[in-house]
């Protein structure tokens, strides 16, 4: 009897330690998400997948109204993205074009409790030691999927600020599918804000243009399209009808997420010249799969293994009136 009690006690202690460790990991995630939105930083990072490597500069500043972010390529053709409060501009054909404008609730997005619980039910989260990245000490955190359906993630978070300094997406053999890593980074301090200034942004005179095509953003709908073979752990997080650059008609977008990765399904009327679009293509961890179904062009995009975007897309059907 006494042995039994001792054993139970031991088990309890073990369970507590486990729960404690999990809590620490979840706390880390909250810190990382907070830091991503609420830290001023400027740095250069490398993005790599397959035999492709490119360098980019990112500047992120926090203003009283919201955050501003500029991402520009340092290799190859000029590419630039500016983001501010759900609005996105992109450098296309030698000028900045507004590509999207979505409603954002709250000044700064943060991790939702349901996202955290989805995360911990689909992934084993554990701390994996300390490493140095871009001259800063970091905490390494592993997200190991509980099944073989999704990629594993490994992140390196700055121990002081929580900023993500390196992130890798890993396949089932621990091979790197894609990774980002800062090579140089300034956190806080004197960061170039000359490009921010309210005057330069939409609706305030000169500067970045507002596009009537995209300005109205997305509206929440119930499209009637359903996915039958949704992989375990994925839940619908959004279903909207949205304008999309270069499309004549609004596009339906349905987003599913397991807390860490997501799959979007886009549904639009097929205009007959889609012969060349069928099939699977990829870029780093993102896979894209197109198909024409009932006079609609359907596209699945997600940072999930190729098999999963195919499975999801192949099970899309119309269940409406």
């Amino acid at each position: 009897m006494r042995v039994c009690v001792a054993l139970c006690g031991l088990l309890l202690v073990a369970a507590n330690t486990y729960a404690g460790e999990r809590q620490i990991s979840l706390d880390w995630l909250k810190t990382v998400a907070f830091a991503a939105h609420q830290t001023d930083y400027s740095g250069v990072f490398v993005y790599q997948y397959d035999n492709h490597v490119e360098t980019s500069r990112i500047i992120h500043v926090v203003e009283p109204d919201s955050e501003y972010e500029k991402l520009e390529s340092l290799d190859g053709p000029k590419r630039e993205i500016i983001r501010h409060h759900g609005q996105i501009w992109c450098y296309i054909n030698h000028k900045m074009v507004q590509v999207d404008s979505q409603q954002v609730h709250g000044r700064f997005p943060s991790l939702l409790p349901e996202q955290l619980s989805a995360l911990s039910s689909n992934y084993l989260i554990k701390e994996a030691g300390m490493e140095r990245v871009a001259g800063y000490p970091t905490q390494v955190i592993m997200f190991q999927p509980k099944d073989g359906l999704r990629y594993a993630y490994k992140i390196w978070a700055h121990t002081d600020s929580g900023l993500l300094l390196k992130a890798a997406v890993l396949g089932d053999k621990k091979q790197v599918i894609e990774q980002y890593a800062f090579t140089q980074l300034q956190i806080g301090g004197n960061i170039d804000r000359s490009w921010v200034g309210a005057k330069d942004f939409a609706g305030h005179g000169a500067g970045l243009p507002v596009s009537p095509e995209t300005a109205m953003g997305g509206t929440v709908i119930n499209s009637g399209w359903v996915v039958d073979a949704l992989p375990a752990g994925f839940k619908k997080t959004r279903e909207i009808q949205r304008p999309m650059r270069g499309k004549h008609a609004p596009v339906t977008q349905i987003v599913f997420s397991d807390g860490l990765s997501a799959i979007s399904i886009f549904i639009e009327p097929a205009d007959g010249d889609e012969d060349d679009v069928d099939g699977l293509s990829s870029r780093g961890a993102v896979n894209l799969y197109h198909k024409v179904l009932d006079k609609h062009l359907i596209t699945a995009v997600g940072e999930v293994p190729p098999r999963m975007v195919m499975q999801v897309l192949d099970s899309v059907r119309y269940n409406g009136k």
Partner: protein
Amino acid sequence: MKKEISALMDGELFEDEAENLLDQIKRDSATHKDWEIYHLIGDVLRQPEHIHCDLSEKVRERMQDEPTVLAPRGRAVKQKVRAVALSAVASLAAVGVVAWMSLQVSPEAASQMAMQQSALRPASAQIQPKSNDYLMAHQEFSPSIDMNGGASYIRTVSYSTDEK
């Protein structure tokens, strides 16, 4: 012999013993039959509503139906050699997968197969720049943005050197 097979299924054999036995199962059809029957029994006990009969055959069929996407186009000769090499690798791997599958028949096995196969699949085509808008629209709602911040947007505008 039956005792050994049962021990193997329970994961109680040492690695070298297991390898020898697996070898024998592959060569000797009677042993192979025993092996299948044992698994069938196990399946029935575990999930009577869903019974696999000769799973290995079905796995092999599915593997053959899998598309082999080869890219980029334009280097025909090299590609052919690679295709042959890859299909050789794939069939070797298929044997491996079958052996592995038999070792752990579980409800998740089929989905894990998906992952195994995606690892075998030759690199698929690069996402075309004209699809960047889909990537951008997806990125906005992907949770990766909460962690990585704007850095993950690099995917939406990444270029490839063989684009031009």
